[in-house]
């Protein structure tokens, strides 16, 4: 068989998380208006100020226009065809422990490889499982509490830690930041809240697992992580959705606050349903992720993006404090008709701030994969440093790979370096591997993994293995 045929075969694979869970759900009929927002707020029993905050965001959103600058194409989204709230009925009266949670829900997560029973879990990883618009379980909470770490659904945090929420919600991504962030601020359902107290090194990895299940439903979660002075936390996020013919909307907001001397490591393995080979269905993933670093703090974003019909996300760091550090490591794989426009923004405000950007884009099939990044050095960011490397790997001659870096410097003591390359998995490379007896499947995955190595080494151990496998599965039957 020729190398090309091998590649073709490799690029067509199935989406393994595409099953649906049949649970009875309370789902709002599609449509968006003030009533819907009041309903969501009431459902969550929110205090008035949260409702006011939502309504203010809604007003802003109504005045905004859909952004068009990204290198993506899709029919206009009818926001009145989306349901903004769906929750499994069994969750209506808040199960007090895992034993009370609908076994069907637990089985769903088990099938996805995320058992929620603590004794079965990966040691050292606490999980918040979000199913459509609600959190169904958060594990290891009591154990975390021993060290003062708060890890709970945001809907609970609003009641239990109103001071923290009031102070920080929207402090990094304001309500009117952009079109999708404004929408999220109006209708956000659930998400995770994390607080690490001063000087505490979080004893385990924290993770949230997002699952969209209900048809015609959007997911609008909101995550808020606050790492107090000198603390340290590593947080993981995973996402899947069933295989459906229609496009589903996911518009999340993530805010990170790293107070002086704190470190936040945020890793994402995004595997939303990408649609089929013809481009039918799949998740529209419009996400705003941003962190702010105070003095000597560090935020590191690592993402492995293999899913979604459209990915639109730019995890960013505002390096406000002196000596703060921002990092962005990304692997984005697109195949079939997937489109990704993703990258980062590093805004250097403080002195001696440092940022590193490593982006690896892999395009196959008829997909479009764009890196878009901004590095801005403000006038008072003395001695700021940035290093950016973005590489694209193309598999097949019908895909596109694009690089749109913005580099803005207003301080003469700053040093910025940007490098980009584009290459392909060449026939010669494949032939060399095969001549040494290596299977073409293995050869492609070796080459692709080698291409992504600098990013994978940033992922927590379990996820690195996971990501490698995910890439293999995604490429299987998807290269062409």
């Amino acid at each position: 068989m020729s190398n090309q045929a091998e590649l073709d075969k490799l690029v067509r694979s199935e989406y393994s998380a595409g099953f649906t869970t049949s649970v009875e759900s309370d789902t709002l009929p599609p449509g968006l208006n003030e009533g819907v927002i009041r309903f969501i707020s009431e459902k969550k029993g929110e205090p008035d100020w949260v409702l006011e905050w939502r309504l203010a965001a809604y007003k802003k959103w109504l005045e905004m226009k859909t952004p068009t600058w990204a290198h993506i194409h899709h029919p206009p989204i009818d926001f009145n065809e989306v349901s903004y709230y769906s929750a499994p009925r069994s969750m209506a009266d808040k199960p007090q422990s895992l034993d009370e949670v609908d076994p069907e829900l637990l089985r769903t997560y088990e099938k996805l490889g995320i058992p929620l029973h603590e004794q079965e879990m990966l040691a050292g990883v606490a999980v918040d499982a979000v199913f459509d618009s609600v959190s169904v379980a958060t594990t290891f909470r009591s154990k975390l509490k021993e060290s003062g770490v708060i890890f709970c659904p945001l809907s609970e945090a609003v009641h239990e830690y109103p001071e923290l929420i009031k102070k920080y919600l929207g402090s990094v991504v304001p309500q009117g930041d952009n079109y999708y962030a404004a929408l999220n601020s109006a209708v956000f359902s659930d998400g995770s809240f994390v607080y690490i107290p001063k000087g505490v090194r979080c004893p385990m990895e924290l993770s949230t697992y997002f699952r969209i299940n209900e048809a015609k439903t959007g997911q609008f979660e909101r995550t808020l992580i606050i790492a107090d002075e000198g603390s340290h936390v590593s947080y993981l996020e995973g996402c899947t959705a069933p295989q459906r013919d229609e496009n589903q909307l996911h518009a999340a907001v993530v805010e990170l606050i790293a107070l002086p001397g704190a470190t936040i490591k945020y890793s994402t393995v995004q595997n939303w349903y990408p649609g089929d080979a013809e481009g039918r269905g799949g998740i529209y993933n419009f996400v705003t992720k941003r962190g702010v670093c105070h003095d000597n703090a560090k935020i590191s974003w690592t993402q492995v993006e293999t899913g979604s019909a459209i990915t639109w996300k730019y995890p960013s760091v505002i390096l406000r404090g002196d000596n703060s550090i921002g990092e962005f490591y990304s692997v984005a794989l697109t195949r079939n008709r997937q489109q990704a426009d993703t990258g980062t923004k590093m805004i250097h405000l403080g002195k001696n701030t440092k940022s590193t950007i490593i982006s690896k884009g892999i395009s196959a099939g008829r997909s479009e994969n764009a890196y878009r990044g901004l590095v801005r050095i403000s006038p008072r960011a003395e001695n700021a440093r940035n290093f950016t490397q973005c590489d694209s790997l193309l598999i097949g001659d019908q895909c596109g790979a694009h690089t749109f870096p913005y580099i803005e410097s207003r301080n003469p003591s700053a040093t910025l370096e940007h490098e980009a390359t584009t290459s392909k998995v060449s026939d010669d490379q494949l032939f060399l591997c095969r001549q040494r007896g290596i299977d073409p499947e293995k050869a492609v995955s070796m080459i692709v993994n080698g291409f992504c190595k600098e990013v994978f080494k940033e992922l927590p151990m379990e996820f690195a293995v996971e990501a490698g496998k995910l890439l293999e599965v995604s490429l299987e039957g998807s290269v062409g």
């Binding site: 690089t403 803005e408 003469p412 700053a414």
Partner: protein
């Protein structure tokens, strides 16, 4: 009134002014033989009326404000017919254009024809300024190099824009080097006063032709220049384009290269210096539209005091352009607080069989090197100048025309 509307009004006034000037002329003398100019002008005026002037929300104008134009450059036409501005001699045949007017006598070179034919370039308009250029043209110059002609000496075009008050001067050049020809052309833009030079140059390189092109822009800091250059390459043509720019009140350098047939090769080198409240914005796009073409670009920029330098370099590999090899390097020095450099190297690739790479750096002068020079008794200022020239010199050393290189070194040293 919003700035874009103000500018449009003024631009239309400028076009009407030219129309009036031409009617006056027509009364005094018999009309010129038709050379397409009036058609180009009319089309430009119509398009201008339909177009919108960009503001900063338009991606291509993100880093450049047109505020400086509100002083009325668009509505007045620079009217001097002679000039005291001098330009260096680079050898070869010289042709001087003053405020868009051609000399009465065009030069004679074997195998090269000069004419006043105006070629319609509206299909390639990069912005509303292409139409403004068309609508305010006093003359156009077309240069055709015949098949197989080897012109050893460079053609040196001295383009002067000069006025005492805000006014514009439009220039349009169309150069065709036919198959198997060899040709060198130097465009040198000079001038004085607050004049806006609106220039459009189109260069066609025929099959297997070899064209050297220089675009030198050294007008005074108070001037403005919005220029457009398009290069069209046919099979196996080799084009080398060297662009040296001194920033001014508003300098915009739009360049688009079309590699239309296989085997075309492009070398492009650029230098831009922005100091003392001056501004330069380069928008360079290489269209790899055919297989097996190669492009190699190096641009170096320096910004000091409150100067602002922008570089946007786009490489676009079209579907089917397999075997493309494109390289782009943009290196910049930021000398002082208050200065700004914005660089955006873009890759847009629709084919897997390509080799593309770009690199960008923004940094400062090496303090070790500076100290080393100072420790040998060289003043801090002189050391900076030496290092600045050294930073650019790598490009200047590769200039095939020694006299241009020599002039460039002096120019650089004076402007640092």
């Amino acid at each position: 009134m919003m700035l874009p509307d103000t500018l449009k009004e003024q631009a239309l006034a400028g076009a009407a002014l030219l129309d009036k000037e031409l009617q006056e002329q027509a009364k005094q003398q018999s009309p010129h033989a038709s050379n397409g100019l009036s058609a180009v002008r009319d089309a430009g005026r119509v398009a201008l009326a339909e177009q919108v002037f960009p503001d900063k929300k338009v991606e291509q104008w993100k880093y450049t404000s047109l505020l400086a134009l509100q002083n009325g450059h668009l509505k007045a036409l620079a009217d001097k017919t002679s000039s005291t501005v001098s330009a260096p001699d680079f050898g070869g045949v010289t042709l001087t254009i003053i405020n868009g007017r051609l000399p009465a006598l065009l030069p004679e070179i074997d195998g090269v024809t000069f004419s006043q034919e105006a070629v319609d370039q509206s299909a390639q308009a990069e912005s509303v300024f292409s139409h403004y250029n068309a609508a305010t043209l006093r003359a156009a110059l077309t240069i055709k190099v015949a098949k197989g002609t080897h012109v050893a000496e460079p053609l040196h075009l001295i383009i002067i824009s000069e006025s005492d008050s805000p006014a514009s001067a439009a220039v349009r050049l169309h150069i065709e080097a036919a198959d198997n020809s060899t040709f060198t052309v130097i465009e040198h833009y000079v001038g004085s006063g607050p004049t806006l030079c609106s220039s459009t140059t189109s260069l066609y390189a025929g099959a297997n032709s070899n064209v050297q092109h220089y675009r030198l822009q050294s007008e005074t800091p108070e001037s403005l220049h919005i220029g457009e250059l398009s290069i069209h390459q046919q099979r196996d043509s080799r084009v080398a384009s060297y662009q040296l720019m001194q920033a001014n009140t508003l300098r915009r350098n739009n360049v688009r290269v079309w590699m239309n047939e296989s085997g075309a090769d492009l070398v492009m080198r650029g230098v831009f210096i922005a100091r003392n409240k001056t501004h330069v914005d380069n928008q360079i796009c290489i269209e790899h539209a055919a297989p097996h073409c190669t492009s190699d670009q190096i641009f170096k920029g320096i910004a000091g005091e409150s100067g602002k330098a922008v570089f946007n370099g786009r490489i676009h590999i079209h579907p089917g352009a397999k075997g493309s090899d494109a390289k782009l390097s943009n290196k910049n020095l930021l000398l002082s607080n208050g200065a700004e450099i914005d660089s955006k190297p873009e890759l847009e690739i629709y084919n897997d069989d390509v080799k593309c790479a770009h690199g960008t750096t923004v940094g400062q002068m090496d303090s070790q090197q500076q100290f080393y020079l100072q420790s040998r008794g060289i003043s801090a200022e002189a050391a900076k100048r030496m290092l600045g020239v050294g930073f650019i010199n790598e490009l200047l050393m590769a200039l095939p025309n020694e006299r241009v290189a020599e002039w460039a070194r002096d120019w650089l040293s004076a402007s640092l």
